[in-house]
């Protein structure tokens, strides 16, 4: 049962009005222009024992991604493919709004949008993850852990997911006589085979303004949001309207164009982070 969320007056109307006044002048409260994301930091290999990991800061939003790779069984209808499982947890330490408990509709939507945006364009080469066809394959558990929530979980989570996938290492294993797969070394030098990189770009619509990478305040005053996933060739590899409002066809066209440009910014930062693979702050405020 999905219920209209309760969030009255977290931002009073007067604040919305003052934000709109800024927008009319072409400004945002944190001095960004409409189409620029916040300051971004992408750290990889932040955990020594996981197969892959990353910590992404998008403004004050923080998402950790952790990857564990384990032997498992393929799905009945895809015997020649490994399995990718994406989960997201809105951990209660991230926000007074998050409560402990099983995943709610927000964390499920987040995980499923990330999952589809990776799955549909075949970002991860699942065919390379077969140990014994129809019997044993690698399961990639990609867990997104929201540590600090200041809006735009989708983009931060997708950057964290890609950074962790691109730097993860497969385990080494041996086959026992019984056919059992035993991991002999948790982390080898072999990466996961990635076919393509994907980023999502989230925009908020506030009245007739389209804002890239909304922070929490902007999300709260927004009418609706759009999440558009892109590959590096500029194809759209996933999309989701999220939030209560609606959009005209023209607005959607505009969102696609704006998001397509912003995707290039994300790809550049992601590629830079991978090149250096050192932990340092990137992006501009």
């Amino acid at each position: 049962m999905s219920t209209t969320p309760f969030r009255v007056q977290i931002i009073p109307k007067i604040k919305k009005e003052s934000y709109l006044n800024l927008y009319r002048k072409g400004q945002r409260a944190d001095e960004r222009d409409f189409y620029s994301p916040r300051k971004i930091s992408i750290q990889t290999n932040v955990l020594e024992k996981a197969n892959g990991s990353s910590l992404v800061k998008l403004g004050n939003t923080q998402v950790m991604a952790g990857i564990k790779i384990e032997p498992g069984e393929p799905f009945f209808d895809t015997p020649d493919q490994g399995v990718l499982q994406v989960h997201a947890e809105l951990v209660p330490l991230a926000s007074p709004q998050f409560e402990p408990g099983p995943p709610d509709e927000n964390s499920i939507e987040l995980a499923r949008v990330i999952d589809r945006s990776l799955r549909d364009p075949k970002a991860v080469d699942l065919n390379s993850l077969v140990i014994r066809p129809g019997d044993k394959v690698w399961m990639i558990w990609l867990d997104l852990y929201i540590l600090d929530y200041d809006g735009n979980l989708f983009d931060a989570s997708m950057l964290a997911a890609m950074a962790a996938l691109l730097t993860a290492k497969m385990p080494e294993y041996e086959e026992l006589e019984t056919g059992e797969i035993k991991i002999s070394k948790n982390i080898s030098n072999n990466p996961i085979k990635i076919n393509k990189k994907v980023v999502t770009v989230t925009t908020a619509k506030v009245e007739n303004y389209i804002l890239v990478d909304p922070n929490l305040d902007e999300e709260i005053i927004s009418d609706t949001k759009s999440v558009i996933a892109f590959d590096e060739q500029g194809n759209i590899v996933g999309a989701q309207k999220t939030g209560m409002g609606s959009l005209s066809q023209e607005e959607i066209d505009n969102i696609i164009n704006v998001s397509s440009s912003a995707a290039q910014v994300y790809f550049k930062l992601l590629n830079d982070a991978l090149k250096s693979e050192v932990k340092e702050e990137k992006g501009d405020k």
Binding site: S2, T3, M244
Partner: protein, 240 residues
């Protein structure tokens, strides 16, 4: 269900004989349940979805909103609706679709007439052959109207897909499962507003634009059928 070799034959016809921009036979009925304040049964081909509306009624405190009614939406699949028997407990997919369907209906319900109340919308998929969420949006729209809930406009839904490099409307299950893209869209043509869109799959920007165009044309027709259905139901009521 096996993957077909081709989805579109030399004459440009789809596996079930439809043209790319042709929807399946559509049936709509309202007032099919006696307890619900409003109800509708909608079929696109073999996909059958029942929707019921209760309310507005006083909210439980925990979800009561001071300035508007809250919507509670449940999209649920009957255990016998799917290829393999479905466990009745809500799946992650059903949780997500309940959310996006709620968000597709919020823009058309005039909720500020009824502060501190809730309006319950139950969407039950009885048989699934592709497009259940879009058929569900159409059924919910009709059930809301049947319940007399004040609305800004009606919505209807349809999915656009891509098979053999051609955009097609109203995917059935095979086209959904093995096609290259599935893009469900819900819109209120009278407002020129799109209230739900999702994309699973890969499209160029141009295809994305064209897909929405295609959807809007079909949704226009679907909303016309909704209006006709409602008119007939008022007539029947009047005749009784």
């Amino acid at each position: 269900m096996a993957r077909p070799q081709r989805f579109i034959d030399d004459e440009g016809k789809r596996l079930d004989g439809r043209k790319p921009d042709e929807i399946r036979p559509v049936k709509m009925q309202v007032g099919v349940l006696s307890n619900a304040d409003g109800s509708a049964l909608v079929e696109y081909g073999l996909t059958k979805v029942l929707a019921a509306v209760y309310g507005p009624k006083e909210s439980q405190k925990s979800i009561s909103l001071p300035d508007r009614a809250s919507l509670r939406v449940r999209y649920h699949m009957a255990p016998f609706s799917t290829e393999e028997r479905k466990n009745p407990a809500p799946s992650r997919r059903e949780v997500e679709l309940s959310k996006v369907l709620r968000e597709s209906l919020e823009p058309i319900v005039i909720t500020d007439y009824f502060p501190r109340t809730s309006i319950d919308i139950f969407i039950e998929v009885l048989q699934s052959d592709g497009g259940t969420r879009t058929v569900g949006a159409t059924a919910a729209s009709l059930a809301l109207a049947d319940a007399g809930i004040p609305m800004k406009a009606l919505v209807a839904g349809v999915a656009i897909g891509k098979v053999d490099n051609v955009l097609i409307v109203d995917l059935n299950e095979v086209e959904d499962m093995y096609g290259d893209a599935d893009m469900p869209i819900v819109a209120a043509p009278d407002l020129g507003q799109i209230t739900l869109y999702q994309l699973n799959g890969v499209l160029s920007k141009e295809e994305f634009h064209n897909a929405i165009d295609m959807a809007m044309k079909v949704i226009n027709k679907l909303v016309d059928i909704e209006k006709e259905t409602l008119r007939n139901s008022y007539k029947e009521a009047g005749e009784e």
